[in-house]
Symmetry: C2
Subunit: 527 residues, 2 copies
């Protein structure tokens, strides 16, 4: 079947969905029917996890229509075209190949005279060899001493994903004997960022990872200069303390200012680059290449699941479709991501970029304005912390915010205390279970201030433990979810033209080529 | 004039505002008129800062109607009633006294037989004396060695505000000679939180600050047990390493298990407690009581400004009113908080609680359902980081998100590099100036993918440098903004009944007193 790239509102299924009656959670989640839904509305993910959507406003009829939507919009076929190397990023005329960093889902993809899968594997192997040498001390500082810290210098996708992944595995690695080096991150052009990090690291034993695909990112080059300055002031040779992660055509590649360079390419967007060399270098240095490989395996396993056409056995696709239903039919404007895991504290910030930068668009892939809403606002904090913060609005505010819970049966570190008859981990799990039901069913109260209307939808991904495999699967799940939603909305999810104008104007300010209000603001800042 | 507590949609001014034509930023911010707006639409704040609202969809006519709204809704009078000790928290029948922790705006407030201002000052003095003794070594560990680290154990308001304030001043204190002790924070009931923090602190030289107003917060008591366990395992006496911040009637008060107890009371909500003993203990230990006092002074100065009736010279009130206009007239559902300061990295998370927990309500202060939207979703990350993340959606998404920028002319640490003719700090400032204009005026492009529609509203608070005074003023600004918005919407912004149901259900799960879907979820987690 030839793939049709048509707008969401031109699909028959979108009209059908709009005429369906949403499942009322206060009814369907009550009593025995509710228990049945929890058992039935569950879809297997990689790494032993499951996506449970019992507490979403769907029923068998709506699921059938979501399947029709998936089929009519050729979602599986579009994913197939993507992983087989079609030019899916039409705006920039590029392939979209982040899946190839963790596996080969379809045909061999050749581009620029290269087998791209082989290219990504080669970079992983080069990184692994480098990391092993750093860990063994074969690559060491000027005094022949081992490096103890890896400092990533990057912004956006070169920062958020790798940082979130590092934090997610840091304590797990420590208790399981996989912790090799501390990682730190410098991202902001604010000089207080670099100065603050550098004041707290032992630069003589630090290896700096400069990450910029183009090799021209203002923040990153500025911070490179900052770091080089600090190294020189400490009497150290910057070239002995720095590596680059960049594209082969960038000014950073093959530069003798670095201990080595590892490559990505234009077919991997920054926000999709955690499984490329961008995440690979820092994670392999921090935890060892074997752990990074396990992380990739989890992502690859989830990607395979995402190729399925049956939405009930493809949780990435199903999650995407339910999200579209909530956004375009139910009219909800934002989604909260709520991992019940302190280790995932920065995972919502990564998803915020992934989702909002991919699908925060007003024109379709052909540049035509769309007549429907696209990507929502994404925000979130770990539970139970959020419960003592913004959950008040989620429970009793005037807008309904769909929720994306994540939880694990076991803690990462296995250190726990038993208080009032239960461990902290059991309390954590009890809280997320309780929240789902409080949101779904609410509670009537004569005191309207204590009344909970309920019918506030949520899903939950449940895993055994946050391991590298589970983390990889979670990352891939959301990458695939965002991709499928972009397909439904007929967007190009892989460019980001909306970030350009600000850059252009900032340059004008610095060059003092401004007038009107822009000059007035510049004057306020005494630029 | 007697204060009228009436719903927003019953105010004449609300209908008038709905009939006004919003200022089109693509027009009014262009050319000379734009520059004039930047000069004119600015309001002085404390600590030498200014709130600039040139890039909001208001003009003189709308500002006049916002003044009418303020007058008709008796906003200044309601604030006056609040700081003079009326029972503004009607749901819990409590006074609302957080302003008294930093100054006396009106009459002496006597309650429970106590002059409340004197009570808060007494606690500050007790904390100051304690902190000074810790710093001098008069209060030391079992071996007579100085404490080097303060670990706050608290959640929600006992965590987010103090943590955000600590991070905002940490590097400033280090370069200015005010850094006394490192602070760490344990909040989540997730055992991986406490285990992770404890693995990274030197418990023998740590003083733990247990913060719970009621003395019954599940997470905090669980984490206390966790910490005591760790201290005992290290052969240390927990009573020599812990202090409590709590109410005088709590089980933690007067308990010999602690080195000391410092008090707050029921008249200060958790999310408004950063200037009480809740923030006071950890900030005084970390930076010294003098720095905490400077922080309070900044807040007190801003509070005074907030008492004014003229909206043009009361930036807290004006910010609140513009927010209501955006929410209820223009229909925008969320607001992004974007500090161009890495030190303020957790300030948006604090505001998220402050705002969403205060005004995420569907019933008015008399318990009657309201027929209009109330508090928005609040989210944000520091710039320029956000520019490389979710700004794509802010610029080109289908929904408009009002923006709240914050920026400073100078960096905190004064360490900088000059690249391509400008410092990092200048680049940072140039970026925020550029973003305001990119959002306001947009840019036409024949390639619709590169088209920016503009008319996306923002305000900016500009300061010289992020000092303790500036931080206090910023905190107070947003506390007062949220308070005024609650008044306009006729809400009780000082209770949080929406967090109760989840707690009740979680207890049932742990007691295995569940059935239906709640039991099914509990079983999935093997609780």
């Amino acid at each position: 079947m030839a793939i049709k790239w048509i707008n969401y509102d031109k699909l028959d299924a979108s009209a059908k969905l709009a005429s369906d009656t949403p499942a009322d959670l206060t009814k369907v989640m009550a009593g025995a029917e509710g228990a049945e839904r929890v058992a039935k509305y569950s879809s297997k993910m990689a790494a032993g996890m499951a996506f449970n959507y019992a507490a979403k406003n769907v029923d068998d009829a709506i699921l059938k229509d979501l399947q029709k939507l998936a089929d009519e919009a050729c979602l599986a076929e579009k994913f197939e075209a993507l992983y087989n190397g079609e030019v899916i990023n039409t705006g920039e005329k590029r392939l979209v190949l982040h899946h190839l960093t963790r596996g080969q889902l379809g045909n061999k993809v050749e581009c620029d005279g290269t087998d791209k899968r082989a290219f990504y594997v080669e970079q992983q192997e080069r990184i692994a060899a480098f990391a092993n040498k750093v860990h063994s001390g074969e690559i060491a500082n000027e005094k022949g001493e081992k490096f103890t810290t890896a400092v990533q210098i990057g912004i956006g996708g070169s920062d958020l994903g790798p940082r979130a992944m590092y934090l997610a595995l840091e304590n797990w690695a420590k208790v399981n004997g996989f912790f090799k080096m501390q990682a730190q991150f410098i991202s902001n052009v604010d000089p207080d960022d670099a100065a603050g990090v550098l004041a707290n690291v032992d630069v003589a034993h630090s290896i700096f990872i400069l990450v910029s695909k183009s090799g021209t990112t203002l923040e990153t080059l500025t911070n490179e200069a900052f770091v080089k300055d600090a190294l020189k002031k400490a009497g150290l040779d910057p070239a002995k303390h720095m590596i680059a992660v960049t594209s082969e055509t960038s000014p950073l590649a093959g530069n003798s200012d670095y201990l080595g360079a590892f490559f990505m390419d234009d077919y991997i967007g920054g926000r999709y680059s955690s499984t490329s060399a961008v995440g690979g270098a820092v994670l392999s240095l921090a935890f060892g290449p074997e752990i990074f490989a396990r992380f990739l395996n989890g992502a690859a396993e989830e990607d395979k699941i995402a190729t399925g056409k049956d939405i009930l056995s493809n949780p990435d696709l199903l999650d995407a479709l339910i999200g579209v239903y909530e956004r375009n039919v139910l009219g909800y404007g934002s989604t909260a991501v709520l991992p019940y895991s302190q280790a995932m504290s920065r995972f919502p910030a990564h998803l915020q970029q992934l989702d909002m930068e991919s699908n925060g668009k007003s024109v379709n892939r052909f540049g035509e304005p769309v007549d429907y809403v696209t990507g929502p606002v994404i925000f979130g904090e770990p539970g139970t912390n959020g419960q003592h913060s913004f959950y008040q609005l989620l429970h009793q505010g005037t807008d309904i915010i769909p929720l994306q819970f994540i939880g694990f049966k076991e803690s990462q570190q296995g250190v726990d205390v038993d208080i009032q008859g239960s461990t902290s981990q059991k309390k954590l799990c009890a809280n997320v279970a309780a929240q789902i039901m409080a949101f779904a069913c609410g509670k009537s109260d004569e005191n309207s201030n204590k009344n909970f209307a309920g019918n506030r939808p949520s899903s939950i991904i449940i895993g055994e433990k946050l391991t590298p495999e589970a983390l990889g699967a979670l990352l891939a799940h959301f990458e695939n979810k965002v991709m499928f939603q972009g397909f439904v909305w007929n967007l190009n999810s892989f460019d980001q033209e909306g970030v350009q104008l600000g850059k252009v104007l900032a340059k004008k300010v610095l060059a003092h080529e401004t007038d009107g209000a822009l000059k007035a603001y510049s004057d306020l800042f005494e630029i």
